[in-house]
Amino acid sequence: MVKKIDKIKADAYFREKNTYMVIYFIIWAIVSYGVVLFAEPLSNVYFNGFPFHYFMGAQGALAVFIILLFVNAFVGDKIDKKYGIDDKRNEEIGRNTTVDH
């Protein structure tokens, strides 16, 4: 059954996802580009035996990236649920809408 829904509702879905995405990207930029930009002053701070800039490059940034990706997957599922999106149904539709070759 196909029914028309309010465009405003669909756009709210899109906007909500994008807001989270912008937050993720800000954190992403701080832990990678931000730390590199300030590598010299940060090298005087030590963490677990490492100079802090080295720790962030070798482990810290990477750990934050993984957390952000999993948070995105969880939050994405939550938003889908809020807007009544059913993944089983998506799977069927995904199979059928594939361009025929």
Binding site: K4, K7, F14, V36, G49, H53, Q59, I85, V99
Partner: protein
Amino acid sequence: MDTQFITSLAIILATFALYIFIAVYNKAKETSDFYVAGRGVPPIYNGMAIGADWMSAASFIGMAGTIMMLGYDGLAYIMGWTGGYLLLTFLLAPQLRKSGSYTVPEFIGDRFKSNTALIIAAICTMIISFTYSIGQLSGSGVVIGRLFEIDAKLGTMIGVVLIAIYAAFGGMKGITWTQVAQYIVLIVAYLVPVVFMSLQITGNPLPWLSYGDIVGKLGELDRELGLSEYFAPFEKGTKWQFLALMFTLMAGTAGLPHVIARFYTVSTMKAARWSGAWALLFIALLYFSAPAYAAFSRFILMTQVAGSKIAELPAWTKTWVDTGLLKVADTSGDGILQWNELIIANDIVVMATPEIANLGIFVIGLVAAGAMAAALSTAGGLLIAISSAFAHDIYYRILKPDATDKQRLKVGRITIVIATLFAGLVALDPPGAITQIVAWAFAIATGTFFPALVLGVWWKRANAQGLIAGLLVGLAVTLSYIFAAKYGGFTILGIIDTGAGVFGAIAAFATNIIVSLATKPPSQEIQDAVINLRYPEQMTYKDGEVYMED
């Protein structure tokens, strides 16, 4: 033939037998299976397959050595090759999955309704994947060269034959499940030596926690020798080079056709997000360990090898000197090998360290098998990308739309064989270290597909003229910068060849936007299709309205 040779060969052959068994078991019967595994691979396994596809000879064989040589500056590879997964998973993967295309060039052809765009995108795919596969073949040359104690060039030739046979008969479905097995082999092979070295040097079995102190000690050793400290930032290049390289590797990740193709094999947009998260988790196991590997290797070389008598060097030095990748020269003539008299190629650090640290023949053999898994699995994905760009996008979509499945498969396989042979020829005399060659492939992807796909998905006003101009300008700027920096010594802000993508991306974004705005907007139908990518599968956008299926 010594015990080491027999053990290494036996482990490599055993793992090969496993891959071939899985590939034959799943042998591709239909075209849709050959390219996208019939869709519907579960996210966690897809994550492992992406991991194997992703972690190539550059990650496995080359990266730790590069970090060892570059110190802090080498960490741009760690952050760059992982941070790109956020760009890919947030900006592109789910949307491209919803579009329902088979390949990146096909998405571009459909989105911009232009066969010219499709052909240019197919050619870019072939250039990127080809450059990348040169690095893989060069890596297999290092492994095979060491195994048979022959020159790395001969090793490369043997690798070419293996990879061509392997990829031509597999297809993607075989490859997806084979790659899950390859991921497991390569990650175990990488972690075992790092854990052993950690135990040997620090007494702690968790290298990730223990190597911080070693990094500090390396700094002390460097100070004593009057060198700059291992962890000192921006000693080997400028800060701008670090940032440019990191951006190039990140954006290139989001624009690599063979990695994006992986996201076409999942069932939904939701599965695409989860695949991205799992993939990075599996990949990170190796990326967390590479800087530890580098630190331990350098520590062992500085404390146990440097300072020993030239005449009494252990057996491992001879076998590596034979491959042409290690040089020990007593330039000071005092009969003692000094740290600065040891010239070790980046690409042998991972392979040679288990021998140097005396970790035993089994571990050495395991590392060889893991390195082969890394080179083979990535080469497999790359060759599929090249063959689908030619057989599917150019041959079937443009040249011969009535081709049968059988003809298309045949053309695909012939493409694979030809591409491997050519890549092998270039790899005989590799134009750079493995990580460097692979970084060029990323630079080209950053200058071409990254802007093209981001604008194609997120900006409905982007049109075919803008896209074509953007792709061509991005490609030209990136390639010219790589050549000018590598062979002409030309640099801006100290950014060298590996960071070239940043200029390509800026030029391509600007060209695409300016040309698109200066020409006619795309048809309403195309603009609607772009807006449609914003919503999950159940929602469809049409004529200004959104429809939902239950």
